[in-house]
Symmetry: C2
Subunit: 142 residues, 2 copies
Amino acid sequence: MSGPQQPQFELTPVAMVQSPLADLDSAPNQGDEGAPPAWIVFERGVIGALDGIRPGDEVILLTWLDRVSRDVLRVHPRGDESRPRQGVFSTRSPARPNPIGLHRVKVDALDGSRMRVLGLEAIDGTPVLDVKPVLSADIGER
Amino acid sequence: MSGPQQPQFELTPVAMVQSPLADLDSAPNQGDEGAPPAWIVFERGVIGALDGIRPGDEVILLTWLDRVSRDVLRVHPRGDESRPRQGVFSTRSPARPNPIGLHRVKVDALDGSRMRVLGLEAIDGTPVLDVKPVLSADIGER
């Protein structure tokens, strides 16, 4: 995929997921399918970036799905082998060239360096890269 | 922000934005404010990952906003100094610890290794990290 002239960019996790979900088999495929509440535990150095987030807010978490292959270009949607393979850019498969997970969640509580969220399907120990507010453009309102 | 024990993750761009928007001053702050059509030009090695994307689809592009500071934790929302500073995680400021941009766009055309999109506010040359379909959970339907 990458040639010698390709730039590479470095990510540093800003937080980690603390969740009762211990493995991928017990994780629902999407957050709307019954994930338990999870804590997002932030690095001390980034806590100021949380300023302005309040319980009840809907936010987007970006995570790093580091347990998957980055060389897979086509998958059976949702792992269902009865469905034909599709390109990973047309699915939400965690296996993709840059395995960044996107999760819309609801902020349930804030407690110092921790934020409790509802509706997150990521497993315990998943690195978190970013938190963003949901915009009307994200939800199709123009 | 990072200590010696912090893992780092490497991103490789999968595509590049080709757009008449040449600089940040001419770029609208959000995609719903009148961005011109843009081409996303993919690396040869990832074209198979586009399989299943069709004109008319709404997709999410993740980009790398590499011209900004990663050390800023608080900003004036939308650069408006009359508004008090907020934590970057409660804004869509490009300046943030991991400067990943999130853009919901509409696929207008596909042409080999290129995809034309509507509603993208990113400037010419912006690296693209990922393409994802929009899910009902993203737009608040549960």
